[in-house]
């Protein structure tokens, strides 16, 4: 991996890595993968609820990013641009899976926990995933990025290319819809 340059700030380091990856530097690209793969996996999992699908999606997103690296403006931040690619790829992937009627059992239900997993919790999880999926694209993305992955509103606004205020109202609307849909499955808080 390419070490961070001494005295450089992270953003400049990242521009440096992107420039070197543009020239085909494997280590530089590896550093970008290393920086973003964990959170990218978490975001992909938030959409797909399947470990292997999420891994595949992250790989596709990185390959797509490498193919389109020249379209990233010089000096533009890699992160928001990459997450936008990832989110679009996730939404498309899910549409594709829905078309093929492939029903994936979430990893959590397929052995990640012990066989004596609480069936109520499993039921809740299934409903939650369904309710999340039924939200309009941007609303679902905001919930996943904000409530699941801890992105801040300014970051989400950059990723989705929307104003921060819109992002906040999307989140509020999405939570309200989720609460309505979950209804009985929610524990009182």
């Amino acid at each position: 991996m390419v070490p961070a340059r001494a005295g450089g700030n992270p953003a400049q380091d990242e521009h440096f890595l992107v420039e070197r990856a543009r020239q085909g530097d494997r280590d530089a690209f590896g550093s970008l993968v290393d920086r973003y793969s964990d959170q990218a996996f978490a975001v992909a999992y938030g959409f797909l609820q399947h470990v292997q699908d999420a891994e595949d999606l992250v790989q596709d997103a990185f390959i797509r990013a490498l193919e389109r690296l020249d379209s990233l403006g010089r000096g533009s931040a890699f992160g928001p641009w990459f997450y936008r690619l990832l989110v679009n790829a996730a939404l498309n992937r899910r549409k594709y899976l829905a078309r093929r009627q492939m029903q994936h059992v979430p990893a959590a239900l397929a052995g990640r926990e012990s066989p004596v997993v609480d069936s109520e919790r499993a039921e809740l999880r299934r409903h939650l995933a369904g309710a999340l999926k039924s939200l309009p694209g941007d609303l679902e993305t905001v919930v996943i990025l904000h409530d699941l992955e801890g992105f801040k509103h300014p970051e989400i606004a950059k990723i989705l290319g929307i104003p921060e205020g819109t992002c906040r109202s999307h989140l509020s609307k999405a939570r309200r819809q989720l609460r309505d849909q979950l209804g009985e499955y929610r524990r009182p808080n």
Partner: protein
């Protein structure tokens, strides 16, 4: 109150969080991504020759030229169809239809003048008639 309620995240959503990956799984995933990226990275490492650049532009260039040609041909054809075709008029007819025997129409004509008219105008100019044609027959009648 409802606003305040909506500002809190839904606690149960935690259930959808991704499982933590082991270091080995993480490393393996990164290696897999780099392996898949290697052909693209290798392509990026190759210096691009000017011929490659020209070849890359050739196809879009040809398409653009074809489109331009079609548009130009279309414009030309539609222009011709809409254009009013003016036939040359003999000098005698012009003189017969003009008032006072002068033919100012020739001076403002859109089409090139008839050869006879040009010759006549040149002859009149030589006579000190300032280039305006007088119908001799008309002027004779006037006197």
């Amino acid at each position: 109150m409802a606003e305040l309620h909506d500002d809190r995240p839904i606690a149960e959503i935690e259930a959808l969080r991704a499982p933590a990956r082991t270091d080995a799984a993480r490393r393996q995933a990164c290696e897999r991504i780099l392996g898949a990226a290697e052909p693209l990275l290798a392509m990026r490492r190759q210096p691009v020759s000017s011929w490659d650049v020209l070849a890359a532009w050739a196809r879009p260039g040809l398409i653009a030229a074809s489109v331009a040609l079609i548009v130009a041909a279309g414009a030309l054809l539609s222009g011709r169809v809409g254009e009013e075709r003016l036939e040359p008029v003999a000098l005698g007819e012009v003189l017969a239809s003009s008032e006072g025997g002068e033919i100012p129409a020739l001076l403002v004509a859109i089409n090139e003048p008839d050869a006879e008219a040009v010759a006549a105008a040149a002859l009149m100019a030589g006579d000190g008639n300032n280039g305006s044609l007088q119908d001799n027959a008309n002027s004779g009648r006037g006197q």
